[in-house]
C-alpha cells in the first residue's frame, strides 16, 4: 500500500518538476518579437524580426543623381541609381524597396549586395488575397499570374547552359523593373517599340537579322508600333526554343493575328491542315517566308522572291521542279478575282453538292412522311406474322456481295482519314490523327485504302464487262434487269413524288429502282472526280513533271468537295433508302445474305416478279431463307457498317458546322 503510494507521489513530483522546467522556457517564446523578456526594439518588424528599411533610406544613396555608379571590390563599375519618380509613377509606386529586394537587411550594406528578386511569389499571394475584391483593382494580376506560369514553363525559365545556377532569363531582364506601367500607360506603349532591343540584348544575331526585315524596318526605323515585334510571334512569356513543336505551332498561329487572310488560306491548304492538326512536318509560314529576315516578294533577298522560292519547296519536296512555282500556297477559292479557276471549280462543286443533297433530302423527308402516314392507316408493306418468310429471292451473287462489303469498308476508311484533314480545326480530327499514329501514317492508310477502293471499282468494271461480253448475243441493254437509266425511271420518280403527296399509287418497279440506279451510277462520277484528283495528289513530284502547280489547288478542292458529297449522301440518303425507311427499318441485310424475302421482293420489284412468274423463270431464283447464323452474321456486319457510317456522318456534320470559314 505504502509502496504504491510512494510511487504515485514520485510520479506527481516528477510531473511538477517537468512543468517547472518547461514553464520558463515557454515564457521566453513570444515569437521573434520577444527575447529574454525583452520586446523587439522599434525599427524592426515584430512579425518577421527583420529590420524595417524605409524607401527614403535606400534613396539616400540610390536616388542621388550626382553619384549614379559605384565601384565594386574587383573594380567593376555598377549602376546604383534608381529613378525615384519613375518608380512612384509605376504600378509598384507604393511598394517598399525591400518588398522586392527582400535580401537587403542592412544599410549601409555590409557586403556588396546581389540583386536577388523574385517576382512570382508576391504576385501570386497578392492575387490570392485580392481576387474576390469587389473593386476589381487587382484584376490585372490574374493575367500577370497566368504569364508568370507561362514563363515558368518557358525556355527562359530553364537553367542556363553556361551557368546552371541561374535561369536563361528572368522577369527583370525584359521588364524594366522600376518602371512597369499599368495597362494602357505610356510605359507600355514605349515598351512595345523597345521590345526588339530588349530581346536583342541577348539575341544579338536575331536582332541584326530583324533590322533588315520589313517588320524590323517598320518598328525600328519608322516607329510603327503596329508592325510585328519579337513577342508578337514568339509570345511574351510562353517562349519556347524554336526547334520545338510547341514554338513552331505558336509562331504560325501568331502570324495569323495580323495576316488573317494569309492564315485562313494557309489552313485551307494541305500544308495548313496538317499543321492545324498539331503536326509541324509540313510547310509553315516561316519555312517559306523566312523568319527574322522576312521581306516582301519583290525584294530579291526575300525568301519568297520568285528566284528563291523553289529552294524553299525543295527543303521538303526534294524533286520539286519549276512547275511547283505555279502552285498557289495561299490559293483562295472564295476570291474569284484573283483565282478565277479555283473559284469556278468551287462554285460548280457547291452547286452540285447543294442540288444533289437538297433533292434527295426532300425525297427522304417526303418518303418518310408517306410511309409513316401509310403505316398509321395500316397500308403498305407489313410483315405477315402468320406466314413468316420462308421463301427468298436470290438477288446478289457472292461476288457483288464481297465487292459491296469491301467497297463500303474502303470508302469509310477514306472518309475518316480524309476528313481529319478537311476538318483539322476540330477536336475529333486531332484525336483521330493521334489514334492513327500521326499524319504520315494517316497518309499511308488513306493511300492504301484508295488503291483498294480503285482496285475494287476496276475489278467490278472488269467483271461487269465480262458478264456482258459472255451474254453478248442475248444481252438486252434496256432489258428488265438492266442497270441503265431509262424513261420509266423518270416516270417512276414523278409517280413517287405523287405518291409521297397522296396523289397517286406507289409506282411498281422492275429489277432495279431509279434510286438504286442512282446509287450505282453515282460512284462512276465520284470515282472519276475523286480518283483523278486523288491520283494527282498521290505523288506531287511526279504530277508536277507534266502538270502546272495550280493543278494541286484544283485537285485538292474538288477531291474534298466530291468526297464530302459522297460521305453525306451515302451515310444519310443511301442509308435511308435501304435501311431506315419504315418498311425496312432498322436494316436490310440483303446485300450480305444476297437474299430478299419473296414478299418484300414482290412489293418493291413487282414488275420483275410478275415477268418472272409469267416466263416461268421465278422458280430458279427462289432459295431457302438464310440460316439463323447467316442471318445473325449479316445483321452484325450491317449494324457495324451502319453505326460506323452514322458516326462518320456525325463527325462530318460537326466539322461542317464548326468550320471557321
Amino acid at each position: 500500500m505504502s509502496n504504491s503510494l510512494s510511487r504515485h507521489l514520485a510520479w506527481l513530483f516528477m510531473s511538477a518538476l517537468l512543468l517547472i522546467c518547461i514553464a520558463p522556457a515557454q515564457s521566453t517564446e513570444g515569437g521573434v518579437g520577444m527575447v529574454l523578456g525583452e520586446r523587439i526594439p522599434e525599427g524592426f518588424d515584430p512579425e518577421t524580426g527583420k529590420r524595417i528599411i524605409s524607401n527614403e533610406r535606400c534613396l539616400t544613396c540610390h536616388g542621388d543623381e550626382a553619384v549614379k555608379t559605384d565601384v565594386r571590390d574587383d573594380g567593376r563599375k555598377v549602376k546604383i541609381f534608381v529613378h525615384s519618380k519613375q518608380i512612384q509613377a509605376s504600378v509598384h509606386g507604393e511598394q517598399e524597396c525591400t518588398s522586392c529586394h527582400a535580401t537587403i537587411d542592412r544599410v549601409p550594406h555590409r557586403e556588396a549586395p546581389q540583386v536577388i528578386v523574385g517576382c512570382i511569389e508576391c504576385h501570386k499571394e497578392t492575387w490570392d488575397k485580392h481576387k474576390d475584391d469587389p473593386d476589381g483593382k487587382h484584376e490585372r494580376l490574374k493575367v500577370v499570374n497566368e504569364q508568370a506560369d507561362n514563363f515558368m514553363q518557358s525556355i527562359h525559365a530553364q537553367p542556363s547552359k553556361q551557368d546552371q545556377s541561374r535561369t536563361n532569363a528572368t522577369c527583370y531582364d525584359c521588364h524594366e523593373a522600376h518602371n512597369i506601367g499599368e495597362l494602357g500607360s505610356i510605359q507600355r506603349k514605349e515598351k512595345r517599340l523597345k521590345n526588339p532591343e530588349v530581346c536583342g540584348r541577348c539575341h544579338e544575331k536575331q536582332l541584326a537579322d530583324y533590322r533588315t526585315s520589313d517588320h524590323g524596318k517598320a518598328v525600328l526605323e519608322k516607329g510603327d508600333s503596329k508592325s510585328a515585334v519579337c513577342s508578337d510571334c514568339h509570345t511574351t512569356h510562353a517562349i519556347d526554343a524554336p526547334e520545338t513543336d510547341k514554338a513552331k505551332l505558336a509562331i504560325t498561329k501568331n502570324c495569323g493575328d495580323c495576316h488573317k487572310d494569309a492564315q485562313r488560306t494557309y489552313f485551307a491548304s494541305y500544308h495548313g491542315q496538317v499543321h492545324r492538326l498539331g503536326y509541324t512536318n509540313t510547310a509553315k509560314c516561316h519555312d517559306c517566308h523566312g523568319s527574322h529576315k522576312i521581306k516582301g516578294p519583290k525584294d530579291p533577298t526575300s525568301e519568297i522572291h520568285a528566284n528563291n522560292r523553289l529552294e524553299n519547296c525543295r527543303v521538303c519536296h526534294k524533286e520539286a521542279n519549276e512547275n511547283f512555282l505555279t502552285f498557289w500556297p495561299h490559293g483562295d477559292a472564295n476570291d474569284g478575282e484573283k483565282y478565277p479557276g479555283l473559284w469556278t471549280f468551287k462554285i460548280f462543286m457547291q452547286i452540285l453538292i447543294f442540288s444533289v443533297m437538297a433533292f434527295f433530302w426532300v425525297h427522304v423527308v417526303l418518303w418518310l412522311y408517306r410511309e409513316v402516314k401509310d403505316r398509321m392507316e395500316d397500308k403498305g408493306f407489313i410483315e405477315d406474322l402468320d406466314h413468316p418468310d420462308v421463301v427468298y429471292f436470290r438477288r446478289f451473287p457472292a461476288v457483288w456481295r464481297w465487292i459491296h462489303g469491301l467497297f463500303a469498308i474502303a470508302t469509310m476508311t477514306l472518309i475518316l482519314t480524309g476528313t481529319t484533314l478537311l476538318f483539322s480545326h476540330t477536336g475529333w480530327a486531332k484525336a483521330v490523327v493521334v489514334f492513327l499514329g500521326g499524319t504520315e501514317m494517316e497518309g499511308i492508310i488513306h493511300r492504301t485504302a484508295a488503291v483498294i477502293w480503285l482496285g475494287i471499282f476496276l475489278a467490278h468494271l472488269f467483271i461487269a464487262v465480262g458478264n456482258i461480253w459472255r451474254k453478248r448475243d442475248t444481252f438486252k441493254w434496256f432489258g428488265s434487269t438492266s442497270m441503265l437509266p431509262n424513261m420509266k425511271d423518270m416516270r417512276d420518280l414523278r409517280d413517287m413524288f405523287k405518291w409521297f403527296l397522296g396523289r397517286g399509287p406507289r409506282p411498281e418497279f422492275s429489277q432495279w429502282t431509279y434510286w438504286q440506279k442512282f446509287d450505282y451510277w453515282a460512284p462512276f462520277w465520284g470515282a472519276t472526280i475523286i480518283g483523278t484528283s486523288g491520283l494527282l495528289l498521290f505523288v506531287p513530284e511526279a504530277t508536277a513533271i507534266i502538270l502546272p502547280g495550280w493543278m494541286f489547288n484544283i485537285a485538292t478542292l474538288v477531291h474534298a468537295e466530291e468526297a464530302l458529297l459522297a460521305a453525306i449522301f451515302l451515310n444519310s440518303v443511301h442509308f435511308f433508302n435501304v435501311h431506315f425507311r419504315p418498311e425496312r427499318f432498322p436494316m436490310s441485310t440483303t446485300i450480305f445474305t444476297g437474299k430478299i424475302p419473296i414478299e418484300e421482293f414482290k412489293h418493291d420489284h413487282r414488275l420483275e416478279y410478275e415477268r418472272l412468274v409469267e416466263s416461268g423463270e421465278l422458280e430458279k431464283h427462289l432459295v431457302r431463307r438464310p440460316s439463323r447464323r447467316a442471318d445473325l452474321a449479316a445483321s452484325f456486319i450491317t449494324t457495324v457498317l451502319i453505326m460506323t457510317g452514322l458516326a462518320l456522318l456525325s463527325l462530318v456534320l460537326i466539322g461542317l458546322m464548326t468550320s471557321p470559314s
Partner: protein
Amino acid sequence: MGAENMNRNETMSKKVRNLLLAMLVQVPAVVLADPTGQALAFTCAGCHGTDGSSVGPSSPSIAAMDPEVFIDAMQAYKRDERNSTIMNRIAKGYRDEQIKGMAWYFAKQKMAPAPQAFDPKLAEAGAKLHEKYCEKCHEKGGRPGDAGTLAGQWMPYLNFTMEDFMSGHRDYPRKMKRKVDAAVEAGGDEALRALLHYYASKQ
C-alpha cells in the same frame, strides 16, 4: 516473510525520497537559467554607465545602440575578430540569445550625450565634412543607427576607434576608408578632429 516485505518497502521509500531530494537540488538551477535581457545588461553598467550612457571617456555609450550593430560587435569580440581590451573575454561569457536580449534592452534606452567640452568652430567645419562625406551612412548627424553611434559619443573613444581603423587593428570598411580619405584630403590634418568636435557638439 512479513518483516522482509516491510523492509523492502522501507528501502523503496528511501530510494524515492533520495531521488526526489536530488531533483529538488536541480530546481533552482533550472528555474533561474535565463535572467532577462535587462538583468544581464546591469553587468555592463560598470564601464558603459547606467543603462548604457557612458560616463568614462574611453568607454562608448551603448544606450540606443542599433541592436544589430551591438550583436555584430559582441559576436566579433566573441570570435576575437575585433580589437579589444577586455570585451573579448566578457563577450565569450554570453550565449547568442543573451547577447540579443541585451542588444534589445540597450536599443530601447535613451542615450545621454557625453558631457564634454568642444570647439564650436571646429565643430562647424566638422558639420560640413560630415554632411558631405559621412551623412549617407551615419545618417541624422551620426545618431544611433545601422552604421553605429557617433553623435554624443565620447571624443577619446572615437579617437581610439579611428586609430584602430587607420592602423589596421580593426576591419576598415572599404567605402568608409574611401570617404574618410576624401574628407581628410578636403579638410586637411584637422579634418578628423573637426569631425570629432562636431559629434561632441551633439549634446
